[in-house]
């Protein structure tokens, strides 16, 4: 709250000196954005220039959408989740651990090869206790299965959360790994196993 006086002063200043209206600022920002990635990969640029509806709404509401907007996002995202046709949701936790550690993929320096994308999970979550280098943007997932149970309902929940985090929490900071095609069905299953398999170090 220390900053409040500054903010107020700024608001006043902006009011007096003109400044841009919110809509003007948004439009200007979009133009500036397009002009500021002009030398990069055009395909990538086209993708980031055009936000999808969820990205645009979360941007507009700064990740705190009003209830009706949030409900709409959660509904549309829940409907987008594709569960494995086999009905099987648990993969191999060992592969899950590798995916959780791996940060490869989709950066402009990552060559377009057959190497699958990583999940970057440890960047934000504590997962297996042996890994001390973990982030804290998301909640700790240590002992997840031991605490939460490993039944089918939990499996479906975890699969869905990784597939599209915004199905259960609109404007969550967590990437929509399945919805955006970052991780494959099999990769998500391996991550479900990492969290839920009783043999996984996460639950030891």
């Amino acid at each position: 709250m220390k900053f409040l006086p500054g903010l107020l002063a700024f608001a006043t200043l902006a009011g007096c000196a003109g400044g841009l209206s919110d809509d003007e600022a948004r439009q200007r920002a979009e133009r500036v954005f397009r002009e500021s990635f002009s030398h990069g990969n055009r395909q990538m640029a086209a993708k980031v220039e055009q936000q999808d509806e969820v990205q645009a709404l979360c941007t507009r509401y700064r990740n705190e959408p009003p209830k009706d907007v949030a409900d709409g996002i959660e509904r549309s995202q829940a409907a987008s989740i594709r569960y494995p046709a086999s009905g099987k949701l648990l993969g191999d936790w060992r592969q899950g651990e590798k995916i959780a550690q791996d940060g490869y993929g989709l950066r402009f320096t990552d060559p377009d090869t057959q190497r699958p994308n990583g999940g970057n999970c440890y960047n934000c979550h504590r997962i297996a206790p042996a890994e001390i280098s973990f982030g804290t943007i998301g909640p700790s997932l240590a002992r997840f299965g031991a605490l939460r149970g490993t039944g089918e309902a939990t499996q479906r929940y975890v699969y869905g959360k990784i597939y599209d985090s915004q199905a259960s929490l609109a404007c969550s900071q967590m990437p929509r790994f399945g919805h955006n095609g970052v991780l494959s069905e099999a990769q998500i299953m391996h991550l479900v196993a990492l969290l839920l398999d009783p043999e996984s170090p996460v639950n030891k």
């Binding site: 500021s36 990635f37 960047n123 973990f134 909640p139």
Partner: protein, 267 residues
């Protein structure tokens, strides 16, 4: 109930041991940083930057000593403490690096594309702009950052920067705020400043450019932003682009009053 709240409750039992391990790790990482602090290789870059600043270069074989960094031609001391700012001669808001490019063009006669060439070093390939930025920033060390929004274009830049800070896009749905919107968070072991919190912003924004031990080189604020967008799965951000400067103006507003410690020393 949202997943993360549910989890927080469920995991309460496991928390004590988690915290203990986390505290030990944090303490050791802190010690690592302290042990490094007694000799910052950024010194080497500052020294090289000072030489470059004074050396006649470019088609006009002129030094940069008469460069106007905002406090008038030839004034380096304290100039970095008031950047980014509006410059009448270019009629735009400029940060340190964009201004260095301008001076290389106007004073030394470089073509704009040559003046902005090789902005980031790589192993075995030093960058003059990096060294120059280290030198100029070091000339404001210990001073307070004071970049008020006076000119209408500075106010507009702040507003544009603010919009960009929250703009989510790309395959990971990331925006700047994804990592820099809350206090006390980290990526892996790296602490993340909440850039709209003056407490964090004053400490962090003012420590760039900084020597990155993981990179073995100084990285500038432009490089920091370029790298953030790389991690965000965006394309290459143009050097000294309007978006980068708008974001700097946005951050500088919250960081104002912070003591400049640049060039800093980081992981």
């Amino acid at each position: 109930m949202p997943f993360h709240r549910l989890l927080a409750g469920m995991l309460a039992a496991a928390v004590p041991c988690v915290c203990m391990a986390q505290q030990d790790t944090q303490k050791e990482v802190e010690r690592y940083r302290q042990l490094l602090a007694e000799g910052n290789p950024a010194d080497l870059f500052e020294a090289r930057g000072e030489e470059l600043w004074k050396a006649p270069r470019g088609p006009k074989q002129t030094s940069l000593e008469q460069c106007d960094l905002g406090l008038g031609p030839g004034v380096v001391k304290g100039a970095f403490a008031h950047l980014p700012r509006y410059f009448a001669d270019t009629d735009r808001v400029q940060d340190l690096e964009s201004r260095l490019v301008t001076c290389r063009v106007t004073l030394q006669g470089f073509k704009p594309e040559d003046a902005a060439k090789n902005p980031f070093s790589a192993p075995g390939r030093a960058s003059d702009l990096e060294a120059l930025a280290s030198f100029v920033a070091g000339q404001s060390r210990g001073m307070k950052l004071d970049a008020p929004l006076r000119h209408p274009k500075e106010i507009e830049a702040f507003q544009i920067g603010e919009q960009l800070f929250y703009r989510r896009a790309g395959p990971h749905d990331f925006a700047c705020v994804s990592c820099h919107g809350e206090n006390g968070k980290r990526i892996r072991l790296q602490d993340l400043p909440k850039l709209t919190d003056p407490g964090d912003a004053r400490k962090i924004f003012t420590s760039w450019p900084a020597y990155r031990v993981s990179q073995g080189t100084v990285r500038t604020m432009q490089h920091r932003l370029y790298d953030c967008y790389w991690q965000m799965r965006h394309p290459q951000m143009d050097y000294a682009s309007e978006a980068s400067i708008a974001l700097e103006v946005f951050m500088a507003k919250y960081a104002s009053g912070g003591e400049i410690s640049a060039p800093g020393l980081k992981r």
